[in-house]
């Protein structure tokens, strides 16, 4: 069954023009498009010069292969570190520390042993205290 207003409504709907897009739509679209366009352009330049980039990388790799046996960078690095005054000082300090811990005695016990015992005891005390606090907190909540 056709309702009486149907034809009128149909005509009105058919004759309805497009809505006007808000003025900010075009600038927004063009901002995104320009950003994408720049990316596409950079990509196209990269593709355009791909053989040049490939050849440069290959040349660099060949140069490294030739230069590495001549200069041996690993040996140079080790040599540099061995000559470093900071490393010398650090080594001397470690040596002094080892001598003190091994030779100094308190109550007939070497200092090294005593330090290790105190550190182990402190660690165990911390663990015990933390688990006790946690246990008490759980018990209080329940």
């Amino acid at each position: 069954m056709k309702e009486p207003n149907e034809d009128w409504l149909d005509q009105e709907l058919k004759g309805l023009p497009d809505l006007e897009a808000p003025p900010e739509l075009l600038p927004k679209v063009m901002r995104s498009v320009k950003r994408r366009s720049a990316q596409r352009w950079l990509l196209s330049i990269f593709r355009q010069h791909l053989p040049l980039i490939k050849n440069s990388c290959l040349g660099l790799a060949l140069a490294v292969v030739v230069l590495v046996p001549l200069f041996n960078p690993v040996a140079a690095l080790i040599d540099f570190l061995a000559r470093s005054p900071v490393l010398h000082f650090l080594g001397a300090m470690l040596d002094v520390g080892r001598t003190i811990l091994g030779n100094l005695r308190i109550f007939q016990l070497p200092l090294g042993w005593l330090v290790a015992l105190v550190a182990g005891f402190s660690y165990l005390t911390c663990i015990f205290a933390a688990s006790t606090v946690r246990h008490l907190a759980t018990a209080k909540r329940s």
């Binding site: 207003n5 409504l9 994408r36 366009s37």
Partner: protein, 186 residues
Amino acid sequence: MVNAAPLPLIGIDDQDTSGLDARMAEVQEFETFVRNYQNMVFSVAARIVGNPIDAQDIAQEVFIKAYERFDELKESGTVGGWLKTVATNLSINHLNRYRARWRFFSEEQTEFEIPTFTPPTDDRRELLDLAIQKLPDAQRVPLVLFHFQDLSYDEIAEKLGISLAKVKTDIHRGRESLRKILVKTS
């Protein structure tokens, strides 16, 4: 003796400059394209989602998709149809994604209260557009697809994933609501 032809003196910089010019020309061409079609795309989205702010985001997305295929589109004779289809699909996806009360996928019927609003204009066409926006999603979307996108009942049912009977009922109810809104408002 064969004379060697002189080699063209085109360096990398020249190629880049011409590439840059081509890019600028393409962007300008696309700007004209957006100017020509922005009202159409915005209308499709706004009438489906019933909200101009969301419609603007959808229109922007449509044009970005168009830019990605601009080389094909500018030579195609069906640009308008392509833009309408993409705008329609994105608008429906938008409704599905963001509206928790979207009822298309359930066959349940909800009672719709005819809203009363004070029209900001006396223009009948503007009034009709506002009335379309006031319709509930389940009535507005099939009605817009039927009247503005010229889709058949079958195509609408397929697009929205609902039964043919529901499409017919929703369009009928939409028209009825539209008529009531217009009568009430005028």
